[in-house]
């Protein structure tokens, strides 16, 4: 079975700094791949290359077996739903207006229906006509996620979608995300929270300092790390080391 998304040798440099260094992985149909890595590992940069914000220096992407250049071809971006790491919403518009605007921008056929489903996904039906600037952080996170799901994209890239949300919102977002990967759709999920990844993801890829350190199920990774049966957090620390990733230590 061909992978939904195949990434081969992806490389990106900010000037002289190599942020993503020959990274290869794949996301299979109906699979959620967790992308883990310490701060500055290159997760956001890799996602930016996938969704067309950055043009990679090297590497081949293919979608459903066909090669794929998101930064050059708008049509290729239509397959992707993106949940950016920052809250990317228009504060001056209401939840409904935000959803409607992005639904139309993505050329969703029945925009009103997509908006209704988006509001339900975000659990914001009762606040639909309030401006986003009046929302709490968790409400904004839910809407941020709902915007990405608007066009029912076959592949969703989620960059830390659950920062700063309470357990109720977290639970709601979990359920929403689980719905997103139904029907054979795929998902790339980055997070610093091991239990989120353990709960949501089928397999995990670990990045550190721009390179891919290991890929596999949590159990496979524990074995690779020489800690069979260990939880993901211990495995992660074993594979990436315990030193802090500030600029001085990682140069």
């Amino acid at each position: 079975m061909t992978a939904l998304l195949a990434v081969d040798g992806l490389t990106f440099r900010y000037g002289a700094r190599v942020a993503v260094d020959a990274v290869s992985f794949e996301v299979r149909r109906g699979e959620a791949l967790g992308l883990l890595g310490p701060n500055g590992a290159g997760k956001t940069t890799a996602i930016s290359c996938l969704c067309g914000l950055l043009a990679p220096a090297a590497g081949a992407l293919s979608f459903d077996g066909a090669s794929f250049t998101p930064h050059a071809t708008p049509a290729h971006r239509a397959r992707l739903g993106v949940v950016p790491q920052e809250l990317a919403l228009y504060d001056g518009l209401t939840a409904r207006e935000n959803l409607l605007f992005f639904a139309r921008l993505h050329g969703v056929a029945d925009a009103q229906d997509a908006v209704a489903r988006g509001l339900a996904l975000a659990g914001l039906e009762s606040r639909a006509d309030d401006r986003v600037k009046t929302f709490s952080g968790g409400m904004k996170r839910r809407l941020n996620l709902a915007v990405a799901a608007l066009g029912d994209p076959p592949l969703t890239l989620l960059d830390e979608p659950m920062v700063g949300v309470d357990p109720q919102s977290r639970n709601h977002i979990f359920e929403s995300i689980e719905r997103l990967r139904a029907d054979g759709r795929g998902m790339l999920y980055t997070s610093h929270s091991m239990d989120e990844v353990e709960r949501l993801c089928d397999r995990v890829a670990i990045m550190d300092r721009g390179t891919l350190v290991a890929t596999g199920t949590a159990a496979e990774l524990a074995e690779q790390a020489g800690l069979p049966g260990a939880d993901l957090e211990r495995t992660f620390l074993e594979l990436t080391g315990r030193s802090l990733r500030d600029e001085g230590g990682s140069a």
Partner: protein, 454 residues
């Protein structure tokens, strides 16, 4: 791409009108500035005839108090270009002269005149002046010469002749030879005029109301400028453009177009800054990830800014037409075309600022400096007429110049937008708009889309 752009324009305009503070700044501030500047300028051009030149202040001390000196005071008081301040003599002539000198010395007035005792018998008027006031001195001299001619009448001509001869080096003692023919000549001329007057041939040069006079001259007497024009070998023809309003001075329409053009730049930079805000709040990344042609993003900013700019310009002109009686209605099509083109060029400028700047603060700082410099140089604050030649040349390299010049050519010269002179300005503005847009979109693509600029 157009559909996508329009979708984004709708979003931007909605956000724009919802941000009440930004909206106030964009609309109310220009209204206030147009009001203030227009009012100041209408005051400066007031009194008509001044052609926008402010009157020259002149303090005057009449130590003669003869019929001639009083006529001189009256003539100067009537003069449009002179703002006369008559000082009452205290009886101590030396103290009065000293006080007058002090007024000039301290800068209270630029000029002061003393009509000395014996002025009626030909004693010279004494002018005290601040030598730093070249331009206003020329205006003052015109007024003084005019008043002297009115008061001294034909004697003045003979006096001038004698002085001219003396200046040319004819010694005092030879003047007898001159008088040998001038005195009989004067007598002959006087009898000629007396006879002509008796025969009713003379135009009513003294305006004592007896002859049928042109009503415009009825109360001001013979126009010195008209007499000079008739005597000098210069033929003047009045060329009054059809569209010019008599009650609107050059300064008011200039102030309105100048402020409109300047404020338009501020408001549109404010609008284009939304691009930077979208970058900072992450929504721009969302737009860039969407399956759209990324050029539509900048195009939508351009369209939105153009619509806002055109709307703002029209509001300002309609407002000015109500406040200052500016005739906007009769030239609405020309104003619309010039405004549309001005909004386009200003949009180009605003987009370039948004594409160059890397932060809100940078955009504000950069645009404020550029807008103020271009407005000052381009004549948005003060007509270029009053500026040195270097500035008049430099003005051509600024955007406001071409817009203001186009607006003034309809307000002042009554030109239609199809006139080649206006079309030239519109052409320059459109070319600049296109160039700015191309540069801005290249910068934008290089900076935000990862795709190398093509």
């Amino acid at each position: 791409m157009i559909r996508t752009a329009l979708l984004m324009v709708g979003k931007d305009l909605r956000l724009f009108v919802r941000d009440k503070v930004a909206l106030m700044l964009a609309v109310l501030l220009p209204l206030v500035l147009v009001t203030v500047f227009g009012t100041i300028m209408s005051g400066m051009g007031g009194g008509g005839g001044g052609g926008g030149m402010p009157a020259v202040d002149l303090a005057l001390l009449d130590l003669d108090d003869s019929a001639t000196s009083r006529a001189m005071v009256a003539a100067l008081a009537d003069m449009d270009g002179i703002d006369l301040d008559v000082r009452a003599p205290t009886g101590d002539a030396d103290a009065d002269r000293a006080a007058l000198r002090e007024l000039v010395h301290d800068g209270d007035v630029p000029f002061a005149a003393v009509l000395p005792p014996g002025f009626g018998e030909g004693a010279e008027l004494r002018l005290l002046r601040d030598p730093g006031r070249d331009l206003s001195q020329q205006l003052l001299m015109i007024g003084l010469v005019r008043a002297l001619f009115e008061v001294r009448g034909e004697d003045m001509a003979w006096e001038l002749q004698n002085r001219a001869l003396a200046e040319a080096g004819i010694p005092e003692e030879w003047m007898a030879r001159v008088e040998a023919f001038t005195i009989p000549f004067r007598a002959a001329m006087e009898s000629l005029f007396d006879d002509a007057d008796a025969a009713g041939l003379l135009a009513d040069a003294d305006a004592d109301g007896s002859a049928a006079d042109d009503d415009e001259d009825a109360d001001t007497g013979p126009d010195f400028q008209d007499i000079m024009m008739a005597v000098l070998p210069v033929e003047a023809e009045d060329v009054l453009p059809e569209g010019r309003q008599s009650n609107i001075t050059y300064m008011v329409s200039h102030a309105v177009s100048g402020m409109t053009v300047m404020m338009l730049m501020f408001s549109l930079v404010g609008f284009a800054r939304s691009l930077l805000e979208e970058r900072d709040d992450g929504t721009l990344r969302r737009l860039l990830c969407a399956p759209i042609d990324v050029r539509a993003i900048l195009l939508s900013k351009a369209l939105g800014s153009w619509v806002v700019g055109l709307g703002l310009t029209l509001i300002l002109f309609v407002y000015a037409s109500m406040l200052f009686d500016l005739d906007v209605a009769s030239r609405w099509d020309t104003l619309l075309v010039i405004s549309a083109v001005t909004a386009a060029s200003t949009t180009g400028f605003a987009l370039l600022i948004a594409a160059v700047a890397t932060s809100d603060k940078q955009a504000d700082g950069l645009s404020t400096i550029l807008i103020l410099v271009m407005s000052a140089l381009g004549g948005a604050w003060m007509p270029l007429l009053f500026m040195p030649e270097v500035v008049q040349t430099a003005a051509r390299f600024t955007l406001p110049f071409w817009s203001i010049d186009a607006y003034q050519s309809t307000f002042w010269n009554g030109l239609h937008w199809t006139d080649p002179a206006v079309l030239r300005n519109l052409g320059v503005l459109l070319a600049v708009a296109a160039a700015l847009f191309v540069v801005a979109s290249r910068l934008f693509r290089r900076r935000y889309t990862g795709a190398p600029a093509r």
